[in-house]
């Protein structure tokens, strides 16, 4: 099916070269899906770790539950190899 772009509010059918370029971009984008998703997961994981960093201060004893929570966060990306696996991740619950 032909695709179109809008240039200065005029709808224009893509040329064969533009179609080929977009097809290549779509393939490349799909190929990067796992990398994008795992990067988002790591970013969120790091934020959650940062929020509990203060439990590691020298004048505070970290609870076993908090130690386990933080370790589960660190381990979360391990072994994930597909987009579906990343989307199905179950995040650990932060101890009260």
């Amino acid at each position: 099916m032909a695709r179109f772009k809008v240039v200065d509010n005029v709808r224009i059918q893509l040329t064969d070269a533009e179609e080929a370029e977009l097809d290549a971009q779509a393939v490349a984008y799909e190929a990067g899906a796992f990398d994008r998703d795992i990067a988002d997961l790591r970013e969120k994981r790091t934020r959650l770790l940062t929020k509990t960093d203060w439990h590691g201060l020298s004048d505070i004893t970290m609870s076993a539950a908090m130690t386990q929570y933080r370790q589960e966060l660190r381990d979360l990306p391990s072994g994930l190899t597909t987009v579906d696996e990343v989307k199905a991740v179950v995040w650990p619950t932060k101890p009260a």
Partner: protein, 183 residues
């Protein structure tokens, strides 16, 4: 927030399009251009992020940019409050678009409206700057997200063309962009 008197220039409307390209009226008439985006909506299954790229004399839309953002979100199930700085992105001589949103999703009710500014596009001795404020449906958390973003050209020069795309530049989308000059 831009103070001054916005002057309406043109409306650009897309329906099942791969891009909206604005190739006229970005010139020295105004120091700042304001693009009001409404109903920006991905239409294909991979359409989860909008982006832009710029050009001047050519039509390659491969200018290098540097960009970053802060983003916040909350989920429909009353959970997931989040606030973060997005990783900075260097788009170096690439047709890869500068990302504008954050996982807008393509469900039937998902849109990504926002306001986009172009600063000093016609000053040859400075780097053109961009700033945009986007809100939208957050697919990852089934909720809402907002973000403030900024970007600049990596190199001084004039800009006369801008191209908006979805999902890495290849996805179909619909939407309307109202263009204003600000004096």
């Amino acid at each position: 927030m831009i103070l001054g008197s916005p002057t309406y220039i043109a409306t650009h409307t897309a329906s099942s399009a791969t891009s909206i390209e604005i190739t006229s009226n970005i010139d020295s008439t105004y120091d700042t251009y304001m693009l009001v985006m409404t109903d920006m909506k991905p239409e294909s299954t991979v359409g989860q992020k909008f982006g832009f790229n710029t050009d001047h004399a050519g039509t390659s839309y491969n200018n290098p940019h540097c960009s970053t953002n802060i983003m916040w979100s909350y989920n429909d199930d009353d959970s997931g409050a989040d606030f973060s700085q997005g990783a900075g992105v260097l788009s170096d001589n690439s047709t890869t678009p500068v990302e504008m949103g954050h996982g807008v999703g393509n469900t039937s009710y998902a849109i990504q409206p926002g306001i986009f500014y172009i600063f000093d596009p016609s000053t040859a001795t400075t780097e053109t700057q961009y700033m945009w404020h986007i809100t939208g449906y957050y697919a990852t958390g089934d909720g809402t997200f907002g973000c403030w973003n900024n970007a600049k050209e990596n190199g001084a020069g004039t800009i006369s063309k801008i191209k908006f795309t979805a999902a890495g530049g290849s996805a179909l989308f619909s939407g309307t962009i109202d263009m204003y000059g600000v004096s």
